[in-house]
Amino acid sequence: MTERERFIKALKREPIVGHVPTFELVFFLTLESIGKIHPSQQTFGQWNQMSASEKKLHIDYCADTYIEIAKKYHHSAIFIHPNPGDFDNTVRLLEAIREKSGDKFFTMMHGDPTFSMPEGSNMMEFTERLYEDTDGVKKEAQRRLESHVRFAEKMAKREGLLDAFCLCSDYCFNVNPFFTPDMFSEVIAPYLKGSIDEYKKMGFYSIKHTDGNIMPIVDQMVQCGPDALHSLDPQGGVSLKEVKRLYGDKVALCGNVNCGLLQTGTLDQVMEDTRRSLREGMDGWGYIFCTSNCAYTGLPLERYELMNKIWWEEGIYK
């Protein structure tokens, strides 16, 4: 069974043997880990001036980077940041990954049409629109949904390249979601469900990510039908055990290793939190091991590698 097949089984909450699958939504520490610049951190200002062979070299470099990281840390899935991010170059990158690694890895990319919570600079303007121009907000949400569906339809014609869309709009602070549950049901949930339904029809899996305390809206999120929820943020008070108890029969779960502890905790705390996540997540099926966000710029690599080592040694279904 390939890593991709094992990942799919986890998404379907089916029994697997061996290691619980692992991946990272983003693994930014590529330079430190394997000496290669992360694709999203490269700038190709003269892309259209390049010869086809030079473009291919760059795309191969990006593909090699993703594959090398996945192999080094035994990831089952690769999340791509296409750069350049247009459709054709996205396809070329996925083709390169498939050419070099076959169907070994599950592939995914961004694909969330829903509004995330706003930045501080536009939070008032966005809030005013929520209250005073709800219909306009809904129309924009619908336009965004249609645009994402069009992209997915084009991608679906390129069979065997992409497996899933990650819906990464953040909705929540540590304390609470930005949106009230009523607002969520009106301006987010219909479009979240709409995109997931369309992706499903085209054969794509859907993984819904958000930081923070999802508990006031998690029921609505699950009802939208994603295959998995990511990242079950303990800094937002989200308990993997509790979400598993409530929704483990409806959705697969990814994450929960506390990024705060990975950054500033003691080594003992990192080890304990890794083991806790494995223990709680692997109880039953449908768990994908990873951090509670991603391997972000500035994360001490040795902490990630410690977490990964414990997973390798202990994250095994018996």
Binding site: T127, V175, F179, T264, G298
Partner: protein, 211 residues
Amino acid sequence: MSITNEISLALQKGKRAQVQELVKKALEEGVSAKAILNEGLIAGMSEVGEKFKNNEVYVPEVLIAARAMNAGTAIIKPYLAAEGVEPVGKAVVCTVRGDLHDIGKNLVKMMFEGVGIECIDLGVDVEADKIIEAVKESGAKVIGLSSLLTTTMVYHAEVIKALEAAGMRDQVKVMIGGAPVTQEFADEIGADAYTSDAASAADVALSFFKN
């Protein structure tokens, strides 16, 4: 019901136009700007803050109430000056160096203003030197530092060290907050306070000015 109570209730519902009308009416009826501010606007915003602390309202509800408060405050501002009403105190707020996230900082600013604290907002990605300069210029007694990233929260400690080096640590209270920040971390770096939400931050800041 008194007109200041009406202002408070309209503010809590985020009814900006109604707050504006009521504030104008109160002024016409001879209610002092200070009473409108304290018994109407600040009282209303405090109620919203209390509900926010208790997870009874969400951020958009706070923002829309703050918008109503700002609209009311704008009307009474010249009258406050004429009455010689001073702000409760001054605070410098910012998101620390390396961090561009500002929603938490903006919420804190809003809540600070909601209890009558004047804010000097330095924005995002702010160096310690700039914070020290702002404190010197404004005479602020409170600094509110924010970070969203685990990689930038360590800069809170750098600000405290810089204040110590400048011989100003005893002049100001340093409050810290943000998604990855904890009470434990605040204790470790010697911050004066940590709060998990913006409304609690305003309460704590107010207590610093009152004591």
